[in-house]
Symmetry: C2
Subunit: 187 residues, 2 copies
DNA sequence: AAGATTATTTGACAATTATCAAATCGGCCT
DNA sequence: AGGCCGATTTGATAATTGTCAAATAATCTT
């Protein structure tokens, strides 16, 4: 529970009472490789936190799988629009390794956010951080070359290459597998 | 003040007390065409709401101006990262017509969000909406052709073409002026 | 209204990346 | 070890859009 608590404190402080109620509603799962945390067309009920392992978030576009995010290293992740708008998700969330994840259910989170002002504030800050990140990513997709995006990824997550198949990485970077291969081979 | 109040109520209800304190701190300005609401390298202190007129948000990339957003039709707009992280902004916000705008200062907003749980919730919902929108936009930039993005804009904001120079529209769509011209002429 | 400035269009060409096809590599199975 | 299957690389070609240059159109100033 400790790394989760640290991650939360890092975003926004909670009163001892709020923190203890908050931590209490997080569930913990140990799941095998290729486990589905969210399946297509179902409503996303949880915000997850990955303590150990890797998960990828993807969706189908035409016939291809588009990897939207790869979660590791004690990050929070979720299907944003499905979770907040309570609509069936186009996304699939799948573990790529045996993993340990925490999750908080939408009902629990909203109840606590209603009861505790500081939980609402925490949630607001989490969403704000995602928004800023989303804009950075948009800028990267729009203006950087595939090469630059690959290098940025190497800087941000050096180990990701060893743990995730290149086809997922390529899709995450917004290029084809072939293009990524050429980038890696130095043209 | 009425359209602002409606826009707020539309996002999240506020208690009468919160609503009246909240509305009270919004300032109102009537500004001429080409007025700068935010200049480069200054810290963005306001969230704006445009009641009448148009504003564009842009920044410099290499030597070019990149139009990040065009605000009209009673929308909220701001420099997200500068406002929330309190850092100098790379963005410029400039009116394209004589405009009427409301603005709430960061200090006032944060004070009210601390005092009133429902204001904090309103803010959370505003940020969440932006985040979802940001992801839709990312998808559009990554997967749609320039042609499709142009058509999407025409659907969303049919009048924008008459009111905004094509060079700004092109940049907002993520294409060059020349490409937009070719799209419009039907290749 | 003429001239000047700015906005938009058109043309030729180059760069990046996708697509399709095939070859090779790597690990796993029995 | 031999054989298979999926993952990755390599090759050839095409599509989309950018860049640079120039022409034309529209708007503003006086």
């Amino acid at each position: 529970m400790d790394s989760l608590q640290k991650a939360i404190e890092n975003i926004s402080p909670l009163s001892p009472g709020s923190m203890s109620s908050f931590l209490q509603v997080w569930k913990h799962w140990s799941v095998p490789k290729d486990h589905l945390l969210l399946r297509e067309h179902s409503i996303s009920d949880y915000i997850y936190f990955i303590k150990k392992g890797i998960a990828r978030i993807y969706y189908h576009k035409n016939d291809k799988e588009i990897t939207e995010w790869i979660a590791m290293d004690e990050q929070f992740f979720l299907s944003i629009s499905s979770f907040f708008e309570r609509r069936p998700s186009l996304l699939v969330i799948q573990t790529l390794e045996a993993s340990e994840v925490y999750g908080i259910h939408h009902n629990d989170l909203m109840t606590l956010a209603d009861q505790h002002h500081d939980v609402e504030r925490l949630l607001r800050k989490m969403v704000t951080t995602s928004l800023i990140l989303s804009q950075v990513r948009m800028d990267s997709i729009q203006f950087e070359t595939a090469q630059q995006r690959y290098e940025r990824l190497l800087n941000t997550s050096p180990h990701i290459i060893q743990r995730v198949p290149l086809s997922y990485i390529a899709s995450f970077l917004g290029v084809t597998l072939e293009t990524l291969s050429r980038i890696r081979s130095g043209k």
